[in-house]
């Protein structure tokens, strides 16, 4: 220990870098890369690369899905948003976790029984249409890129925190390059092991600092209690309802007031209506609308995320797919209790973050907050902050790897293997997988470096809104409605998905001040809300389009739809899948 101290002191002197924080993060990165390389040796066939040979056990698969799902938004973004917006931001963790229920109830089992590598495979198989595959592939890429941007913001924020000297974009570029290399070498089999490890890493990294912080500075409830509700501030303007050990520092002017922070319909959901100059009572209906639209986007979006859905094919059968979903819900549900605690404690203990923006703002609360323990217990705060940083690395590395695999899979397997060069050899496909990984990794870095000013969680919400309006209606309707035709499915998915994509793009461009719509938003708060959270109208739009167009093109319902439905819904033990494949290959010979 004594030998380490001078060394660490000199390192800290060199770059203003905290050696403990740096050490823990470096270990996470090295272990991740090492695991990727190690499994690269064992993954040989194309099937290994795409769905891990379909033989992953329930426990491993559930940890891996959870590991992949808990992204920078879950690890850093939720805490940041709870701190900046209060109660309304709690809808994010709840819906991130509960969206899985919809997946379980309506989609998980049937989808696994149908058996295909990717969602575009499902789209083609269900409607016998190669054209539809191309449309579905486009959405894998759209949603993927929207989802990578916040991961990159997480990466840039974390590196800027660990190395105070380096600019945001450099952090994005370094992390992007490391993960791209890892994916290009290991494929998905490597990822399953790494993802499962990373779930437990993240769980440890979020819960341990929370318990220590609560032990030192007072519990979750006490810190929520330090914020007075409307009734309480009327009754006793001066008194503090619950006392916490440390008196709160004065909140900066940019922080929301106690009442609006702790009560529903706070700054997050009322921003548009407030900007239009409406009174508190008038903004409430707008706020309710915003909340519902957000819930729909997150719940339906979870059920339609392509990089999560592809994992269901690694289950051995439909029953295992259901069991896996159950375990995923428990694993992520437990996790999601913790991030809001950081936001709540952060409001009372580290309010100065309210005053900063970009990579220095509330999005880094999870990393920064444990360090305040240094004031009382020496270096332990830095150790905990190092653990939190390691968790953040695990978060954006695992999610970005998963996204990269699914987007690369879409390019290599669907665009190259099915469309450009259908007779490519396995070797050519493997090479293409690697090239595609590098291309997509580079594009993600470029996009990610542009979004420093947007909140992580907000951007993830947008990816969910697009998935909710495209894949969710497609999967839900094709699994449960026999009358669906290819044209109906494609129109609905394109209509809903593109509408959501257009809305979110306009909102981002205007929030990044690339186009100026400030005056328009102020005069039309309703339109602003419907653009910012489009799910409330785009999801029904997609479903209505699907029904109307399918009815109009009734004659083109696939001829063997009854057989397809049987494969989707009948238990595997009846052996229908085998029969379906035989029949299909016989049909192709005619």
């Amino acid at each position: 220990m004594s030998a380490l101290l001078p060394l660490s002191a000199s390192l800290a002197f060199l770059g203003g870098v905290d050696p403990w924080i740096f050490g823990f993060s470096a270990i996470t990165v090295v272990v991740t890369i090492w695991m990727g390389f190690r499994s690269a040796k064992t993954s040989k066939t194309a099937s290994d690369f795409f769905v891990a040979g379909r033989s992953v056990s329930v426990g491993w698969n559930a940890s891996a899905i959870s590991g992949e799902y808990l992204s920078a938004a879950s690890f850093m973004g939720i805490a940041g948003m709870v701190m900046s917006s209060g109660y309304d931001a709690l809808w994010y963790p709840v819906c991130y976790a509960c969206g899985y229920l919809f997946l379980l109830l309506f989609i998980a089992g049937p989808l696994r029984r149908f058996g295909a590598y990717t969602i575009p495979d499902f789209a083609e198989g269900r409607f016998d249409s190669p054209l539809f595959r191309k449309i579905a592939v486009c959405f894998v890429l759209f949603i993927g890129f929207f989802y990578t941007m916040p991961q990159m913001k997480g990466a840039g924020t974390t590196l800027a925190y660990i190395f105070p000297g380096i600019p945001y974009w450099a952090g994005v570029a370094i992390v992007g390059a490391v993960i791209t290399l890892n994916v290009a070498l290991g494929g998905m089999k490597g990822i399953t092991l790494v993802q499962a490890f990373q779930y437990w890493m993240k769980m440890f990294a979020i819960s341990v600092p929370v318990f220590v912080l609560m032990a030192v500075y007072g519990g979750y409830g006490a810190h929520v209690g330090a914020n007075r509700t409307a009734a309480e501030s009327l009754a006793e303007p001066a008194a503090i309802v619950q006392t916490i050990d440390t008196p709160r520092a004065t909140l900066p002017a940019t922080a929301p007031s106690d009442v609006s922070w702790v009560s529903p319909f706070g700054p997050l959901t009322t921003k548009a209506a407030k900007a239009a100059g409406l009174s508190a009572e008038e903004t409430k209906p707008y706020s309710l609308l915003y909340t519902y639209s957000l819930i729909i986007a997150l719940v339906c979006g979870t059920a339609g995320l392509p990089h999560i859905l592809v994992r269901f094919y690694t289950n051995p059968d439909g029953v295992a797919a259901k069991r896996t979903t159950m375990w995923v819900m428990i694993l992520i549900g437990v996790f999601y209790v913790f991030p809001p605690v950081f936001g709540v404690l952060g409001r009372n203990l580290l309010p100065e973050l309210y005053a900063a923006t970009g990579a220095k703002g509330t999005d880094k609360i999870v990393l920064e907050l444990p360090r305040i323990i240094n004031e009382r217990y020496g270096i332990w705060g830095s150790v905990l902050s190092g653990i939190a940083c390691a968790g953040a690395f695990a978060a954006f590395m695992s999610t970005f790897s998963g996204l990269l695999v699914s987007m690369t899979g879409a390019l290599a397997h669907d665009v190259y293997g099915r469309i450009l060069k259908p007779h490519a050899t396995a070797e050519e496909r493997m090479r293409m997988f690697k090239i595609a990984a590098v291309v997509i990794g580079a594009m993600s870095v470029v996009l990610g470096s542009q979004v420093e000013q947007l909140q992580i969680n907000f951007m993830v919400g947008q990816a969910f809104a697009i998935a909710a309006a495209s894949y969710f209606p497609l999967l839900f309707m094709s699994v449960w409605w026999r009358g669906m035709t290819m044209k109906g499915a494609a129109t609905g998915m394109l209509g809903g998905g593109l509408a959501a994509l257009a809305c979110t793009t306009v909102i981002n461009l205007s929030d990044l001040k690339i186009i100026d719509l400030g005056v328009f938003w102020r005069t039309n708060p309703l339109i602003r809300i419907l653009c910012e959270q489009p799910a409330i109208w785009t999801v029904p739009l997609a479903i209505v389009l699907m029904i109307v167009v399918s009815k109009a093109t009734r004659t083109t319902v696939p001829g063997d739809v009854r057989m397809k439905m049987l494969v989707l819904h009948a238990p595997e033990k009846l052996g229908l899948k085998q029969e379906y494949i035989q029949e299909h290959s016989a049909g192709a010979g005619h």
Binding site: A222, H223, V224, G225, S263, P264, V337, L566, P571
Partner: protein, 104 residues
């Protein structure tokens, strides 16, 4: 182990079988989804219509915060546990009933 390919006039391929199969599974899914959605969509309405009640303090939390931030998760686990148990037993019943008809 997959069973040997059944003939096409088998009970499994009848319209009636598929209809019952889908209806029973969908009914189960919808029942569970409804239970979930009552809570999910009910909470914003409760916040809207009864703000004072939802602001009641429970262990320092407001009631609304406690429900959304903590209690929601176990509630969803219960629903999904119930669903999985029922859905697996439904599948077993279906396999059994097909086997019985084939024997006859």
């Amino acid at each position: 182990m997959p069973l040997p390919t059944p003939p096409h006039d088998d009970v499994v391929h009848s319209e009636a079988f598929l209809r019952t199969l889908m209806r029973r599974q969908l009914q189960l899914s919808i029942a569970c989804a409804a239970a979930f959605m009552i809570v999910l969509f009910g909470l914003p309405i409760a916040n809207y219509l009864a703000p004072e009640l939802m602001a009641t303090r429970v262990f320092g939390f407001t009631l609304s915060w406690l429900v959304l931030g903590v209690l929601f998760f176990p509630a969803v686990w219960v629903i999904s546990w119930f669903f999985i148990r029922r859905s697996i037993s439904l599948e077993e019943q279906e396999v059994k009933s097909v086997a019985n008809v084939r024997k006859e």
